[in-house]
């Protein structure tokens, strides 16, 4: 027996031209581009391949998560499956009643009241009057809008509109459900309720396709995972495996990112001293890294050039700053019995457990002589965790032991 629903996509491509900004010249440019393309068979420069030769098939019962960076084509894919956008080439075959939650509030009418909007949506969905009446009270209860439910939508705050749109989404009865992105709605209490409703909805749908940046959600909810990368289908398979590879790749990209984002140079150099280099090392023999795991032991390696052999030996100050301005450590070599020599090329190493909250940090190294700053340099790094040791979002993750003793 053939199944009731399926999605089949073959050699799907979608290209966008230069944005149409209302100018005739641009329009002509677009036309000539299309002409050139049809004549020469090549894409005009400036064209964006949102989807490039993508093929897959989804059978009834599958829960598919779509991952990929911004601009990978995830939303375009969902828009095409929903019928909101058309494919440039390829075959798209979707069988089943589709409900797409792509942009919240797309179908809401400003002049109608909240209640009328809900009724209208139910009617569009093809629900019977009896079925509508059965759920409408439940929907109104769900959105918690009070008196506003009988007021026109234009009197709503954006948060209230989002709630109403959300009710429209969770009370439908789709066969194929397409969900785009984290549907974060409203305040904490409501978003918790909303998330639970999405879960229930996914349990009911015959096919669910969800686009999300939250990889844990994908692993938890989906039986299959599609990874889009710059319009191409890079991987298709088990969510746990694919998200693990994706995470590794994202991390590598992040490393490059950190270096380019922290370009601002705070280096200070005087005749007395220079901080030649700072490196963070997590394994002996390895080169410097910019990403460390929560709690990982790391070595901060500092190469100095000290040039005033006649003065008092300078003090070395190592501080770590969280990007939002919290200083998480401030240590001086002079707290220990150690001293650097007065002159020459010196290497100082400081080992530290990076028991820090995941996020972006900077290590600052100051060389201080007679109370004055004579050299400074900083280097950025990221603290990373796939899974945190525990909740509470503390600044530090310290290994604390608890033990109970009877006092008699």
């Amino acid at each position: 027996m053939p199944s009731r629903c399926h999605i089949r996509v073959e050699k799907l491509s979608k290209t966008y031209g230069e944005p149409w900004s209302g100018s005739v010249h641009r329009g002509l440019g677009l036309l000539s581009g299309a002409l050139r393309e049809s004549i020469a068979g090549t894409a005009a420069p400036g064209r964006i391949h949102a989807l490039d030769d993508v093929s897959f098939a989804i059978a009834e019962g599958e829960r598919v998560g779509v991952i990929g960076e911004n601009g990978a084509g995830k939303s375009t894919l969902l828009h095409i499956l929903a019928g909101v956008a058309s494919a440039s080439s390829g075959v798209v075959d979707v069988r089943g009643r589709v409900h797409a939650a792509l942009t919240l509030g797309l179908g809401l009418r400003e002049e109608l009241t909240g209640r009328q909007n809900l009724l209208l949506e139910a009617e569009i969905q093809g629900k019977s009057r009896a079925a509508t009446e059965r759920i409408i009270a439940e929907m109104i209860d769900f959105v918690e809008l009070g008196d506003f439910i009988d007021r026109p939508l234009r009197t709503y705050s954006s948060g209230m509109k989002a709630r109403l749109a959300f009710a429209n989404l969770v009370f439908v009865d789709p066969e194929i459900l397409l969900i785009d992105e984290a549907l974060s709605v409203g305040d904490v209490a409501f978003s918790r309720k909303a998330n639970a409703a999405v879960r229930r909805l996914c349990d009911r749908g015959r096919i669910v396709l969800v686009v999300s940046h939250n990889l844990d959600t994908i692993v938890e909810m989906c039986s299959r995972c599609l990874w889009l990368d710059r319009g191409r289908l890079l991987a298709d398979g088990d969510p746990a495996e694919i998200t693990a590879v994706y995470r590794r790749k994202m991390r590598a990209r992040e490393e490059e990112d950190i270096v380019s984002r922290f370009r601002d140079d705070q280096t200070v150099e005087t005749a007395a001293a220079r901080v030649v280099d700072i490196g963070i090392h997590t394994a002996p023999g390895d080169g410097p890294t910019t990403v460390v795991e929560v709690g990982q032991r790391a070595r901060i390696r500092i190469d100095l050039q000290l040039r005033s052999p006649d003065a008092e030996p300078p003090d070395i100050r190592v501080r770590i700053e969280r990007l939002d301005g919290l200083w998480v450590t401030d240590n001086r070599l002079s707290e220990t019995a150690l001293r650097v020599p007065r002159g020459g090329d010196v290497r100082v190493e400081a080992d530290v457990s990076m028991s820090l909250r995941p996020g972006y940090y900077r290590v600052w190294v100051d060389v201080i002589q007679d109370g004055a700053l004579v050299a400074r340099r900083c280097v950025a790094f990221k603290v990373h965790a796939d899974r945190l040791p525990y909740g509470g979002d503390p600044a530090l993750y310290v290994p604390i032991t608890m033990s109970a003793h009877s006092r008699g």
Binding site: P19, D187, S406
Partner: protein
């Protein structure tokens, strides 16, 4: 004389502000033109008075539809109040939820130029300042693309960057601090703190109580258009959260629980907590050490996961052993929670609490070196 002093003391204030919107059923334009009064009225904000002192951010807490956005727009001069008055010293930079000013056909750069020419008096809109704005927003080549191509995150980054690009004196901010990735969020916080440090003031509207704790000394709570609570943020949040109190009886902290603990920075530290268990029930303890810094707000520094401590009646001493206490010298808030197990699932019954969320936290006084940081990571040094 006193009146003059008082106005000098205010950066932004409103007195008895009410904002009513007329609702017309149907869309008969002629009725609007003839000045019909409307079929119905919605009062979004009612009799609200609040004061922002120079150099200070005030929090505005409330759920969706409480009237936060309306009030902000009244304060920012976007809406005229139906009744009451708004006073401010200097220009107001508004960061509204969905942006403002202009069409989405403008490019990011055009938007920034327009915004700056409208809202910053005398500010020079130089190439350099535009570049700085573009860089902060991290829009790359999209800065020269029309806004309709932007994702919602990109829009929010643009609006935030533009509105905070000039070291303005007065900000009204609507929810914007919850946009973007972790990196961008911390950049936003940092920029706001820099602005506050250089004397800026403003209002931060949010439904996120932790945000007002981080930024605002004082907080107002708005509910159905009215201010229902006002005071120091910490106390207001405590009442706003209205966490259930301890159920008591079965287990509690013993009478000899000290109000103040003392420790030395960097020492291996044991905090002993006396607990009386009066029933044969599973009892678990959790703990957090938090710090408040002026202008930087609250930080949860150390968090100890709830763990089982007893299952039989008796008097216990629970030792929390913290290796090389990673706190700088100073005063910390010590919070203890005694809950009924088992720990695996479901809501826990709170047996006893000493926490700032209940107005009963303990003090941890740490002595040691004077440092610029809040915490201290133990470093082992080597000179080669």
């Amino acid at each position: 004389m006193t009146t003059v002093d008082r106005t000098e003391d205010v950066a932004l204030a409103c007195q008895e502000v009410t904002k009513t919107f007329r609702v017309f059923h149907g869309t008969d334009v002629w009725r609007l033109i003839y000045g019909a009064v409307g079929d119905d009225a919605v009062t979004a904000v009612e009799q609200v008075s609040l004061t922002v002192r120079p150099g200070e951010f005030v929090g505005l807490l409330g759920r969706n539809g409480a009237g936060k956005s309306t009030l902000l727009r009244v304060l920012g001069g976007v809406y005229a109040p139906t009744a009451g008055s708004v006073t401010h010293v200097g220009d107001v930079s508004g960061i509204y939820e969905l942006g403002l000013a202009g069409s989405d056909r403008l490019t990011g750069r055009e938007f920034a130029m327009r915004w700056l020419s409208i809202f910053s008096s005398g500010a020079v809109c130089t190439e350099a300042s535009l570049d700085e704005t573009a860089e902060f927003a991290e829009l790359g080549r999209y800065f020269d693309r029309p806004i309709y191509e932007y994702s919602s995150g990109m829009k929010a980054r643009l609006f935030f960057s533009v509105a905070t690009s000039q070291a303005g004196s007065l900000y009204v901010i609507d929810e914007v601090l919850s946009v973007g990735d972790q990196y961008f969020q911390s950049k936003c916080w940092r920029r706001l703190r820099e602005r506050i440090a250089s004397g800026a003031s403003g209002v931060l509207a949010t439904h996120d109580w932790s945000a007002v704790l981080r930024l605002c000394r004082e907080t107002y709570v708005l509910d159905a258009g009215r201010i229902i609570d006002h005071g120091p943020s910490r106390e207001v949040v405590r009442r706003y959260l209205a966490l259930p109190g301890p159920s008591g009886g079965k287990a509690c902290f013993a009478a000899d629980l000290p109000e103040t603990y003392r420790a030395r920075s960097g020492d291996d530290t044991v905090l002993s907590v006396p607990v009386d268990v009066k029933d044969a029930i599973p009892v678990a303890l959790g703990c957090s050490i938090e710090v408040f810094r002026d202008g930087l707000g609250w930080d949860n520094v150390i968090h100890v996961e709830v763990a089982m401590v007893a299952s039989q009646e008796g008097r216990y001493k629970v030792d929390l052993a913290i290796p090389a206490l990673p706190l700088a010298a100073g005063q910390y808030s010590l919070n203890l929670f005694l809950v009924e197990g088992p720990l695996c699932s479901g809501p826990r019954t709170v047996l006893d609490v000493r926490s700032w969320t209940h107005g009963s936290d303990l003090v941890l006084t740490v002595s040691g070196f004077d440092r610029d940081s809040v915490t201290v990571l133990p470093l082992s040094w080597r000179v080669l």
